[in-house]
Symmetry: C2
Subunit: 374 residues, 2 copies
């Protein structure tokens, strides 16, 4: 995937996931809810898949509900708490799949926690808001999709648990890139298959306990009555296989990738005057760099890089995004003009040092081509 | 798929669909909403897929919203009309993915249209209910999943259109088995990929027009803002490829399959005293037979047939089903005891005459094995 630097938007299907999907589609395509032998096998494999995922997330498997992806999971959480009275506290840099349903469904009941200028969470403001509003739900993402900034979700989960406040964590960008074992400590966790080498159209929601009803997509008794619809076992199997594959050597991946990325960032900041690295002072995912470039519309940069075979993005593919806006920069109070100059670079598990070097050269070339025209 | 007679629950993945999915996953896995060349290609292929589906359904492609399946589509329609005041009129034999959200969300605003004893729609009662309640929505499925009975949806759609009443048709069991060209005349149409050889986890909802908002799963701007979440292009491409494949020789398939099935039904009704064929007097899908057996719990029949390598089902995999209940028999006022004796047999496009004969022999053997024990 040389030249592909948009892993936070989506990832190529992992070969192990493809094989798992093919085998499942060939042999275990039967309806898991049916009553014959082959169906029972699918049901069994589905249970095993749930156990394997529970193992990785440090969660009882019974808490896991398979969904069509992170967007559905986030909408389902909002739907669940829409029925309860009281405020919902959210970070101000959540993905649109959480932010939009929050605003549409809960409207004036949502309170946003301020972001620090380094895009991390303003802890003091968070504690103050919890005390002031006694919320029915706190939702803070694990790692930001635009800047890669890591949020103190473990600390926040603990803080909420001590006060009896349910805590939801959208861990779509975290899972597969960072150790996931502690996520089971959150009451609710969102995950998405295609962010870590699994297929699109599949994800999950970890719920507080195995009894709690969900009630967003209703119908058949699948997923213990919490998510209706024929179980998509091939995609589920592929998702979990991908997660197992990408997290196998996570420590080594992290060490290497951090080195490549930081060398890239250092060189770019040195060579292109006026570049600003967002979240440069705080812990971030090993794969993400968000830059505010000194001049020219980000779409011009993207187009030229695309011509050279490099795929990067503006803020987020899921933001109202096509106009180049960025939720992170909005939260930091950036101007509209500044938002037109932001780019996001996100690598993957198999990105090599030479891939990063090639991107560096290409980015500097585009920068020079702009300078020449002036 | 010898011995597999549960196509109404799910279908094996069509080889053409598998190939389409593999190619898409290999070459066009990029995020369709991103801004580089490869992403634009995915966007273009997605538009083309939408056009191909529009062609088959007799609908403007812009009316089509891709979803995670029929269950989501049905829930989304209910959500859309939950916001509007007034009664919703529904057939009394809808799939749980429509019936359950209707009851949960609209509760006392739902009015059910009576079923005739042959499981078709009671037209007189339908007209009467429309006049009496002036509903904000009428929803009638195209073909029933348990009995295969065809409903007069074209007539109902016309009747509703003349009165300015929006009409929704869950065509999950119809599409792929019957000519679908006229479905575009309905205001809303639900379809499911895995019912006609496509992958699980993908389906669609045809909407009234291209402008109408949907607002069930919110977040990113995908599907023109009507269904958020990264576009699942590989599954969409596979679904549409499957539909093109299975409908290629639909007339020939229909003629052959009807002959095999009816011969089977005739022999079974002759050989097993007291068998009752549901919907035997009305038009049904060419693949479905619903039988009330003379005695013994249906699960016993299923288990013995499963041992002989045959996969059939009780009412529906999606009904509260595991306890053997049947929405169709409920609507016909059957007793609980009778519902424990129902089986559903549903064949597929590739089911052969000898497959049907083998099932006939197996069913008669099970019947005899019961008789011997008495």
């Amino acid at each position: 995937m040389q030249g592909y630097f948009d892993y936070n938007a989506t990832t190529p299907l992992h070969p192990a996931a493809r094989d798992a999907w093919l085998i499942a589609s060939e042999r275990h395509w039967h309806n898991a809810s049916s009553l014959y032998r082959e169906a029972a096998t699918v049901k069994h494999l589905l249970d095993t898949a749930r156990e394997r995922l529970g193992e990785m997330l440090g969660s009882e498997p019974e808490r896991i509900v398979f969904t069509s992806g992170a967007t559905e999971s986030n909408n389902a959480v909002v739907h669940l708490f829409a029925a309860k009275e009281g405020a919902v506290l959210s970070s101000s840099v959540e993905h649109p799949s959480l932010r939009t349903p929050l605003q549409r469904t809960l409207d004036h009941r949502v309170r946003f926690i301020r972001a620090c200028s380094d895009t991390s969470l303003d802890r003091e403001h968070f504690h103050q808001q919890v005390t002031e509003h006694n919320p029915v739900l706190v939702t803070i993402m694990a790692a930001n999709n635009e800047s890669g900034t890591l949020h103190p979700w473990q600390e926040a989960a603990k803080y909420c648990k001590e006060r009896g406040v349910p805590f939801h964590c959208d861990a779509s960008q975290w899972i597969g890139k960072m150790p996931a074992q502690a996520l089971g400590q959150c009451d609710y966790v969102t995950g998405s298959g295609h962010k870590f080498g699994g297929p699109k159209g599949v994800g999950f929601l970890v719920m507080r306990d195995e009894q709690e009803a969900l009630g967003f997509i209703n119908g058949g008794p699948q997923e213990e009555g919490r998510r209706a619809g024929t179980e998509n076992y091939p995609a589920i199997e592929a998702m979990i296989t991908a997660l197992e594959a990408v997290t196998q050597d996570l420590e080594i991946t992290t060490a290497h990738q951090l080195k490549y990325r930081d060398a890239f960032a250092k060189n770019i900041c040195r060579e292109i005057a006026g570049v600003r690295l967002i979240g440069g002072d705080v812990a971030r995912l090993w794969n993400t760099i968000m830059l505010v470039l000194p001049d020219h519309d980000n779409r011009k940069w993207l187009a030229r890089l695309s011509q050279s075979g490099f795929a990067i993005s503006t803020g987020s593919a899921c933001s109202a995004g096509r106009d180049g806006s960025s939720i992170v920069l909005q939260a930091l109070g950036a101007s509209a003009e500044e938002m037109q100059r932001v780019i996001r670079i996100s690598s993957g598990w198999e990105t090599s040092e030479s891939d990063w070097l090639a991107l560096e050269i290409a980015l500097l070339q585009v920068s020079k081509s702009f300078a020449l025209k002036e």
